[in-house]
């Protein structure tokens, strides 16, 4: 059942339609990925969910109730552009952010200390924020989104600016939070993370939602007769081959669609016969990145035609 629902929201800034009649829903206990290029409208959509921007039209509901200040206090929000009071101390910062969400007292202080321990910051409790490294500041910010024990986490560009180790810590943390039954929505333009973590995705481009649904369904719909291929060598001979419907180059991988199911085996044989070194050959599979580029790229192509 959808817990968090975004219904037909739109927002314009002057002539620019930042978000155009966007709808999507986030089921309980799932991780939802809002995917799009830079400037596609992800942040604007998220800000409307958080009541930071008022939608020109449409609404956001949580468990059937229109989102407002009460909803906000149930959410942990990590904006794309992080910000903390530089002169405040770490623990003080955490307690302040919890307090404006309505949580204070000894229990919160204890929880804050636990989180700091978990993120290896226990000894920095009384340091000023400005004395911390960037990565540690990010950790403090992340803790501040969790400390009030929110039901929903909205994380804008969660992984931007994190090193691989911290990225891994975050990933585990999010999976742990999912186990606890929290609703998690994050936006990203890094498809590999989304593919590994999300149950549901929405792809937004030019303010419009292009694809929306369970990741498994979206993939199943598009993966039939599709081969995701990583290779070394020359595959130009496949062009004009009668078994091939089309070939899309995604940079990292190539997506090949064949005309009939049985052609898949034929294609594999053909590649081996032509001395192509195969690194990966996924039959009836498609990566999220391929879906994303197909969806977002097509429009770019169309736009060019119109000009």
């Amino acid at each position: 059942m959808a817990a968090l629902e975004v219904k037909n929201i739109s927002k314009s800034f002057g002539d620019l339609k930042a978000v155009d009649n966007a709808s999507f829903s986030v089921p309980k206990g799932s991780i939802f990925g809002l995917l799009g290029r830079n400037g596609a409208g992800k942040t604007t959509a998220i800000r409307m969910m958080m009541n930071i921007y008022m939608p020109d039209s449409g609404e956001v509901t949580y468990e059937g109730i229109k989102a407002g200040p009460d909803f906000n206090s149930k959410v942990g929000y990590l904006p794309e552009e992080r910000g903390l009071y530089k002169k405040m101390k770490v623990l003080e910062t955490l307690l302040f952010f919890a307090e404006i969400k309505g949580k204070k007292g000894r229990v919160v202080t204890k929880m804050a200390k636990n989180y700091l321990k978990k993120f290896d910051l226990a000894d920095r409790m009384n340091s000023k924020i400005e004395d911390l490294s960037k990565g540690n500041q990010q950790k403090v910010q992340f803790i501040s989104t969790l400390l009030h024990d929110p039901e929903v986490l909205i994380l804008d560009e969660l992984f931007s600016g994190l090193d691989p180790i911290n990225t891994n810590i975050m990933k585990n943390m999010i999976l742990e939070l999912k186990e606890q039954g929290k609703i998690i929505l994050f936006s990203t333009h890094v498809m590999s993370f989304a593919e590994k973590m999300c149950d549901h995705v929405a792809i937004i481009d030019h303010g419009k939602i292009k694809i929306n649904g369970a990741l498994a369904d979206i993939k199943a719909e598009r993966s039939h007769r599709n081969i995701s291929l990583n290779y070394e060598g020359d595959i130009s001979f496949l062009r004009n081959n009668p078994i091939i419907e089309n070939i899309s180059d995604y940079g990292n991988s190539v997506g090949i669609k064949v005309k009939q199911d049985k052609d898949i085996q034929l294609l594999l044989k053909l590649l081996i016969d032509n001395n192509v070194e195969i690194k990966k050959f996924d039959a009836n599979d498609i990566s999220l990145e391929e879906i994303f580029i197909d969806t977002v790229g097509q429009e770019v192509a169309q736009e060019v035609k119109h000009v």
């Binding site: 921007y53 200040p69 929000y77 904006p79 307090e99 404006i100």
Partner: protein, 421 residues
Amino acid sequence: MFNYRVIALIKRELREKLLSKAFIIMTILLPVFMFGIIGIQTFIMSFDSEKSVVEIIAESETIAENLKGVIGEWNFIKDSTVIPMINSMSQMEFDDYVNKKQTDLLSEKISGIIFIPNSALEDKKIKYYSKTPKNMRLLERIDNPINRVLVEEYFQSKNINPEELQYARMSVNISSFKISEGEEIKEEGYGNLILSYLFSFLLYISLLMMGSMVMQTVIQEKSNRIVEVLLSSVTSKELMIGKILGAAITGLLQMAIWISPVILVASTSWFMLPENITIDITFLQVAYLLVNFFLGLLIFVGLFATVGSIFEDPQDAQSGMWPIMLLVMIPFFISMSMIENPSNPVATIASMSPFAAVIVMPAKMAMVDVPLWQIVLSTLVNVATVFAIFPIAGKIYRVGIMMTGKRPSWGEVVKWLKYKY
């Protein structure tokens, strides 16, 4: 309006402001600084008149002799800030004498030479030769003994009894009385004038200080992107209210610290004040001052916060805040001008006009008895100003704090008012 979010915001503001070095230093140092300035002024003034040698030359020998006899009665001669050298010579001799003394005058070995011709007995015209002939302080002082000698000499031949002479010698001595309703007429000292100066000055300093402090934090929150995190928890209205109240409470506390010594002096007899500096202030007046100041803080801190929200760069904000600076400065100068004439009609109008009322009314009240209806009207105007500007300020703030990038023009800011946010 006062939910846990606003309270948390106010608490944070107070913690940040009250413990800031700027606040502590300003609160302690401002009074020290103000007394320091007065001290330095007195010091410099005592310095300039130290040991000026003045030659006084009278054409008539009797005048010179009489002058020698009486001049010692004056304090400035007694404490030898002025050392007189009295002689007599004719007009012709004097002209040569001045020429001879030119180097001494230029090197300021002697401050000046006064010549009293015989004609002075008819027209009281005397001459002063000096490198700095406009030394009013010296001339005003030396004027008195010379006048006395001339007057005595003049009336000597007129056969007038000494009592009448005594009367003629006296200068006018004005005692001022303040007329107020109800109370008996009291002799008015300088106390309330000083008080009025002091309040105007403190009000001015404090409004500007609190205002720019809040403006800085708004800009900081905006450029550090903290504001987005805050807005995910609180509404922009709550944020603004929290900020303004935080600053207003800080300002009020600071003002209370500043004026408590004044109230202490006024309400107790522990401190001996010179007779002409009596301070006449009632508890009700103090209460009014604080209420008025609080309203002023709401108005001006609100305006400063709004300006802060428009800009991202403190330097741009400096140039953007001049309209508000004028709203504080013009009333301040009106209050200052009122010290010369408290019933100045411009001041009377200003004391009941939006923005100016906050600053002008307290200064006016300290000097004259303002009718009650004017005080009530002035307060109502202040309250109305708060209610009039807040919806507009709130709207600009709402749009401004989330607006980054290019510095907006005033035209764009006006457009913001129509935005749906």
